[in-house]
């Protein structure tokens, strides 16, 4: 008996690009949710630091150069969100590097999956986590006395900002994952993020700094994003605040996603 199997054309069974991307995103989000040990530190540590700062720097808000705020808590919220999203973004890129290390990435490449969905899926997971982190910080801090002058709309803008920051940083970290293929190397980027955060106006205003620190914070785009987010909290909704909180991370995202796609193509070409 001869049995013949008619070959199916890949286009018949292949889901559309959005469907593939959605499946890859779902995988990234579920992977994050299944490993609380990976995500809890980026939720707890920023809150811990903010709690420490609220107590330690309670009297610092009277220093000349500090904006008018009711408490250090109001001032520090934007820095805490940035800290959480920066450190949380490493998690998604580490997972991508782990995929490369354990060979799953090669199997994905061998399958008829659309190439962009590999990266976009991962970044969508990072964006969802960034949005959830920002919303989590706001919900937790409101009962502790945070005064959100921007109201509900201001809060939503902050969530959008957190999402875009996660996209920009997640894409940048993905570049590192794709170029090195090492989760250890991605984790090693932690000091770089630490420097980006501490040489900015995340914890104290630029007006209170001096010398080279003030210059570095002035060159650091993180300062401007944080200042936009901070204005939404302590001053209220304004076009200038939205521009800094949303448009700067959006512009950075365009650049870092392009870099990530380029790194993906290079890796595939390398084989």
């Amino acid at each position: 008996m001869t049995a013949t199997f008619a070959p199916t054309t890949s286009t018949e069974l292949q889901p559309s690009l959005p469907a593939q991307t959605w499946q890859m995103s779902k995988r990234a989000i579920i992977a994050l949710a299944r490993q609380p040990a990976l995500i809890v530190p980026s939720l707890v540590f920023p809150l811990f630091f903010l709690a420490l700062g609220s107590s330690s720097f309670a009297r610092a808000i009277n220093i000349p150069g500090f904006p008018e705020v009711d408490s250090y808590l109001d001032f520090g919220v934007a820095g805490a969100i940035m800290q959480g999203v920066l450190f949380g973004s490493v998690t998604g890129a580490t997972a991508l590097a782990t995929d490369i290390e354990n060979g799953f990435f090669d199997r994905l490449i061998a399958s008829p999956v659309a190439r962009p969905s590999i990266i976009v899926g991962r970044l969508a997971g990072a964006m969802a986590f960034g949005a959830a982190q920002t919303a989590f910080f706001l919900v937790i801090l409101l009962p502790f006395g945070m005064n959100l002058e921007g109201g509900v709309i201001g809060g939503l803008v902050l969530v959008v900002s957190g999402t875009l920051i996660a996209l920009a940083v997640g894409a940048l970290m993905s570049v590192m994952a794709l170029r090195t293929g090492s989760s250890e190397a991605v984790q090693g980027a932690f000091p770089l993020l630490f420097i980006l955060l501490f040489f900015s106006s995340a914890f104290f205003p630029r007006e209170t700094m001096s010398g080279i620190y003030k210059d570095l914070a002035g060159y650091n785009p993180v300062s401007y994003i944080i200042e936009g987010m901070r204005d939404l909290v302590i001053e209220g909704l304004s076009a200038w605040a939205v521009v800094r909180a949303v448009l700067i991370p959006a512009a950075l995202s365009v650049f870092t996603v392009w870099l990530a796609m380029r790194s993906l193509n290079k890796r595939i070409a390398r084989g």
């Binding site: 009297r59 501490f198 995340a202 104290f204």
Partner: protein, 277 residues
């Protein structure tokens, strides 16, 4: 024969307590394990460099970011680096000690530790050896962070004595960090312990007057920092950068180091004894 001259019958003196081979080997074994620990710096620099670089970055970043805190009335120095340099040193020394815990977890997972325990090395040497290695690492960390601090403007206010108290505090934190790291490595035997080592040490060090003096802070942290023994260790480390070195600022730190080291050493020994095949 020599051996006869030391017997009670020939000398008439009371018989000396027999010394076990293990007891005789305690010091050389500890030194050997300590040297192995230090050699690992060259073999695996990626495991040591973070504990050297992070305190430098932290001291520099904190002193720059929080430059203006010296303007708060009652702040004990006009140089922010003088306030944050000792914090960086203690952070680095603590992580030099905790790093020993990471190494031990790797040795347990690879099976090297089982082979080590089968040798006639005294149990205590398994703890004291890595501690010597951690102290050597702490020496490198303290010296490097201090020199970088000097370059960016840190100044001793009571001469060399202030440097001595900084080193004492650094060595003390490295030792207690080692005991704590080893105890958790023996208990967990895998990298789960590593996260707890870091987190607990981090909490212990930051729930103090790490960022601002007790007299300046407000709220819940003041109550916690006042009773946290690590506040005394920080005071011991900082005094040479904030004014004169005094006994009042010294004894509390020494007692805290002695007490925490004793407790963590006991915990490490008990955990090592529980380590079964």
């Amino acid at each position: 024969m020599t051996i006869e001259t030391t017997t009670p019958s020939s000398t008439g003196r009371p018989s000396p307590k027999p010394r076990s081979v293990a007891l005789t080997a305690m010091w050389p074994a500890s030194v050997g394990l300590g040297v192995r620990n230090v050699r690992n710096i060259r073999r695996l620099p990626s495991a040591f460099l973070p504990s050297l670089l992070m305190p430098i970055i932290q001291a520099v970043a904190f002193s720059g970011t929080f430059f203006a805190i010296t303007m708060i009335p009652g702040f004990p120095t006009d140089r922010s680096i003088n306030w944050f340099l000792p914090l960086g040193v203690l952070m680095g020394c603590g992580f030099a000690g905790i790093g020993v815990g990471f190494t031990t977890v790797r040795d347990i997972e690879s099976g090297f530790y089982d082979r080590l325990r089968m040798t006639p090395v005294p149990r205590l040497a398994l703890i004291m050896g890595p501690t010597l290695g951690a102290l050597a690492r702490a020496l490198v960390v303290t010296t490097t962070v201090f020199l970088v601090g000097l370059i960016i403007g840190a100044r001793l206010t009571d001469g060399v004595l202030g440097l001595v108290t900084l080193y004492i505090a650094g060595f003390g934190v490295a030792a207690l960090g080692t005991f704590w790291g080893l105890a958790l490595a023996y208990r967990f035997r895998d990298m789960r312990g590593a996260a707890i080592m870091q987190l607990t040490f981090f909490l212990a060090l930051f729930l103090t007057d790490a960022q601002t003096p007790l007299s300046v802070m407000e709220g819940w942290l003041h109550a916690v920092a006042r009773v946290n023994p690590f506040t005394n260790i920080l005071r011991l480390a900082r005094q040479g950068f904030l004014g004169d070195v005094t006994w009042d600022n010294t004894w509390g730190g020494l007692v805290a180091i002695a007490a925490i080291s004793s407790l963590t050493l006991w915990f490490a020994v008990a955990s090592l004894n529980r380590l079964r095949d």
